[in-house]
Symmetry: D3
Subunit: 148 residues, 6 copies
């Protein structure tokens, strides 16, 4: 489950896709309980009927948590999360939707401060069962360069 | 628990701070189970001893989930999340740390596409019990303008 | 989220209502696991079909936990729970019901033992989406009087 | 696990005691997530240090949930909960306390409305590892009388 | 809840059956989160539609956990689990199935190493609402003999 | 995350080891709530002090669930669980232990009923941080043979 990939080995425009996961009403309840956010948009089916979506919608923090969690397969011991940019939620996630994550290597550049490292940008897209994008962001990694 | 605040009413540089929450080993376990990320950095105390931090560190997605969740007090029915920018994790969160969130209104501008709305940026800082910032990001909101 | 209300400031017959929350099958499962009560009335759909209700019904302790939890918005630092009286469950809660809580200030009286405090009674009613009362009780608070 | 006990068979002053259960930090976190009550008295160790108790205290609704849950062993198919009276929390429950429940049959009387039933009162005491009472209430049951 | 049964008192071919429990989508989610097994056979409704079962199936470890858990009523302080043999899953468990467990005392024999103990085999069958066996195994117990 | 391995490709005596996971008090609580087994051996620290182990011990079903769960990395689409044999718990698991799983291919044989399949036995050993075996069993798989 460890897979070392150095900066030089990331291939621009390469793509990987994860398995899917159906987002259940139980996930909504668990995420409310974990985050402490019990807003009726997420948990009150009666209220939600009166909104433009007509039903409960997932917390953005849950789509992020599960969407990123789906990518946690192999560990790259020479890569570290620097941060996330431009996190957006173009479509809502509903109870019963099945999401998976597509990662595209969208950028590589030297790290301005660390000569032995580079920055790799993963374009993250979380997609539902219709292929619609429900979350997009850029995941910026710091990755070691090969020695010497 | 509903508190309507229009675009015009957001005051630049105003600050609010939430209550605190102690991040427990249980939260680590629950977040792993919710996200599906069981990486040993978060869940294996033996492995973690060998890392620079010397102990298990929180998932970034958990710090985000709980840090944002702490702000979910009153609902502003005329505000909507547009997205999050420049999400960074300057310091790790350890088991037993107590975090709270500070929100500063850091920017206001017209929405380029919607005349009846404006964009409000909340600078989000999640702070631990030592006052160190463990998560920073910009939360961009779309907020209705007062009618007429 | 802190809101100081002294004994003198509680207004008899004033009413507040909380947001709603849909009680899900997941809540039934979580409550069984938390309480240790796995009685088939709550968890066995086949058995429940043979009961007068025809379906699984919520644990009374869950309706109490969530009904009271819904009221945990602002903290009054000068009020303390003394206890609960006449806790009743006039109607069952089913999977999919949406409940919210109505609080009415129903009594105020001096505290017999503490000159600097008074007793405030909140009549608690947990209501379902049809407006039926599924839990009623009196929540008795000890509240500080204004100094002097 | 079914044990039929008719009204006539409840023996006044008889006592039963349950097994014990250690209340963990995980239970605090799970109860907050289930109830939606994230007040710092229960979840913020830093804040709790400044209170008279010096540490986090359990939600009253959790002590009730687990204290009553401990009694859910055998099912009496001819008994039904009527309600709970005089629910009090004489002492706080701290993380690491071990509680169990003692039930004493404290009253029996005819049901005023139903000739075929009687009312049985169980005095409920939840006790910690020092033998201190942390929750007391009267659990009122409606119990069928033997036919004929 | 304690019920002492010595080796001599186990009656060959005697049978006991537990209450039932409906296996919910929430149980699937909780078990994935507890075990760390997020395989799409259990959690991805879209993928599952393409399998021979046509829907998500329970983790074998969950059927084992809940099937055995259902038998945890009375404690026999003189019996200890030695192990489980021939654990099989003849049929899948689907969301919404209601299972219960049937225990048959299928074998008794002296313990080869401990003169004061015997081995008791419980044939464990977990059955769904149609009476189909979804899990079978032999639970081997070490049980004290009566003194003298 | 899919990795097809045919019967012919399993190499006798080959070994793989998983990452580790620290078993927390939270896991004990979650497993009790999931299984419905609240026996004091697992959840009552006071009682456990009086046992030979001197502390709470993990449910066998939890060690099985997590020990097997740790192996759920890549999916082999041509392999299916047939069952588990000789499941034993040579040592207890305590709160704070860190376990990982070692899988050894210990047997390969033709399937007696299915010409296109073979049986592969994985010897499963769950080991704690001292290298002690806390669970052992044989996991029997049915695996497709290469076509032709």
């Amino acid at each position: 489950m460890n897979q070392t990939i150095y900066f030089e080995d990331y291939e621009l425009n390469s793509v990987r896709e994860t398995h899917g996961r159906t987002i259940t009403e139980a996930d909504f309840v668990i995420h409310a309980g974990h985050s402490g956010d019990f807003f009726p948009h997420h948990l009150d089916a009666e209220f939600a009927r009166s909104t433009p979506f007509g039903q409960r919608i997932a917390h953005g923090t849950m789509t992020f948590t599960i969407g990123i969690g789906l990518t946690a397969g192999a560990i790259n011991p020479v890569a570290f999360t620097y941060g996330y940019d431009r996190l957006r939620f173009p479509k809502p996630v509903f109870i019963g939707d099945t999401i998976h994550t597509r990662i595209t290597i969208s950028n590589k550049e030297p790290d301005p401060k660390r000569a032995n490292m580079g920055r790799v940008t993963e374009k993250v897209e979380v997609l539902n069962q219709k292929g619609e994008c429900v979350l997009a962001c850029d995941h910026v990694l710091l990755v070691q360069r090969r020695a010497g």
